[in-house]
Symmetry: C2
Subunit: 194 residues, 2 copies
């Protein structure tokens, strides 16, 4: 049955091309330029073929977001080799988080802002999401008792920094200073949140 296997393989490749194309257009022109018609044209199939892979446009955003979480998990882990001290590792990880967010804003948007159908903290949460959260938690855990709670909280701080700066709410020039402040806060806060 090599023929049906080839078909499955071709279908899988086509799905990958849809995701890659969506990602590229989003990065180059923003998500509002990612339309089903445009995707169909770029992969040289008709629109219903796109819908045979993804139930909706949001599902395509979700697929790009999932890839993004894989990339971010890798980036965060790579930023904190074991040779670093806890403080150095923490600084490296939060810096890597912001670098990812501002270096690939469209992917970040898919991951955290746009409707994508992805869910955290559930039994069906994909490993990419768990790994991203885990990489953050590994950096923060040395500084507190309830690591999960602290990770949620300081993850929120990082996300807030990204979003407010993206929307022109805070001064871009002071990004590094704010990041230092967050790191200070993590290092000096007694874990009293419970």
């Amino acid at each position: 049955m090599g023929i049906s296997e080839r078909k499955i393989r071709e279908k899988s490749e086509r799905e990958g091309r849809i995701i890659a194309t969506a990602r590229r257009i989003a990065e180059e022109e923003g998500w509002e330029a990612v339309t089903i018609r445009r995707l169909a044209q770029d992969i040289e199939y008709s629109q219903p073929v796109v819908y045979s892979h993804f139930a909706s446009r949001d599902a395509i955003v979700g697929a790009v977001a999932l890839e993004g979480f894989g990339d971010m998990a890798d980036a965060l882990r790579a930023a904190a080799p074991e040779s670093l001290s806890p403080r150095e590792a923490l600084e490296a990880v939060v810096t890597a988080f912001l670098d990812f967010a501002f270096g690939r804003p469209a992917i970040y948007e898919a991951m955290f802002v746009l409707p994508s159908g992805l869910r955290f903290a559930r039994s069906d949460t994909p490993p990419q999401l768990r790994n991203t959260f885990g990489a953050l938690m590994a950096a923060i855990a040395p500084f507190c008792r309830d690591a999960e709670l602290a990770t949620e909280t300081f993850w929120a701080a990082l996300h807030g920094l990204v979003e407010l700066e993206r929307h022109g709410r805070i001064r871009p020039a002071f990004r590094a200073s704010r990041l230092s402040l967050v790191v200070e806060a993590i290092c000096h806060t007694p874990d009293g949140g419970t």
Copy 2:
């Protein structure tokens, strides 16, 4: 010239009705239900009349957001009467922030997430935005040296908490614990961000 004044008054009233209608629909059914056609129908005028008041849909979102900033500034100031200690005032203000965000999610969305054309930290920044930032800063200033930087940073933390919870990224049940952690962080962090 009472006639032309009446016309100006009527036009202003109509503008207020557009904003109020947009706000109501957004709160009841979400922003995607706020369409120009729907607004026109509700105020009993045709669509071009709506465009004679607002240049675009985004401008309507911006008008609702501006009202929202006024409301939020009031809410934050009301939460922190002078009789409170700095620590109590801080807790009251951050709690009021989250209460506003989760109590009126559509208004919050207009203020912080949707494109609205509003700009912070500029010469033309409206007073409603300045007052909101000021109310936050008043609560945080007692705990740090560079109040503006600290306010930006902890404002980001609050916004991140709201956004991650809204998107199902963190556990709703632990909202209060995370908030306690943020307050702890503000109170115990030496102001080393500069």
